[in-house]
Symmetry: C2
Subunit: 129 residues, 2 copies
């Protein structure tokens, strides 16, 4: 999996963008990297409360294949891998901002409260959405 059913015949650009973004943690990862610049695997894992290691690596690999993030391995003895956004990833974040604003308006008029957590999640809610 992870790569077989992707890049399916898209019907339009929006379709292709949604494919790249679909996945429970994709947008969270995008925002983590946006606000921190560079993050290590364990830092991302701690930032995205509730993510499993399997899903995190799987999503990171897909996003790397999609050209959204850059992965740099440092061949050190405690292994060190650093993730950061590519220019395409940064552009994606920009393109997602209006959607974030719309969603925040929706939450407000529906009276739905967001989950309060520590760390990046807070920053996301105060930043763009």
């Amino acid at each position: 999996m992870t790569r077989a059913p992707r890049r399916g015949p898209y019907v339009c650009g929006l379709d292709a963008a949604m494919d790249v973004v679909s996945g429970k943690w994709k947008v969270l990862i995008l925002w983590e990297l946006e606000h921190h610049g560079i993050r290590r695997f364990a830092e991302l894992r701690r930032g995205l409360t509730g993510v499993s290691e399997k899903m995190l690596t799987q999503h990171l690999r897909e996003m790397e294949q999609d050209g959204l993030i850059h992965r740099e391995v440092h061949p050190e003895v405690p292994p060190r891998v650093e993730y950061s956004l590519t220019e395409h990833g940064i552009a994606l974040n920009r393109a997602l901002e209006p959607l974030g604003f719309w969603g925040r308006d929706r939450l407000r008029r529906e009276g739905i409260s967001t989950v309060e957590r520590e760390g990046v999640v807070e920053r996301r809610c105060t930043a763009a959405s």
Copy 2:
């Protein structure tokens, strides 16, 4: 289903927006209604090549609950039901436009071709994405 697992505790506005839009045919329905104004059930079904009747009704119901579309039943003898966008649905479409542009750029630089079909699909590809 259709309503139980939705409106889950969102982590931010973008999260809430993605929830509303997630579903194989949601954005397609949005664009169909955007470009036609008012559509009947069978018209939507013909416009979204490959959608099953079950999925179409299911998605339409969810989007109605989310306040994205308006459903008007005409009590006639061949039943007639008309769907149109609400103001929130229109705003959502606006918020999705940048994402559509980003996706189209992605398709272009990846050299991925979109599926060529008749009808609305064409219009979507030429309009915003």
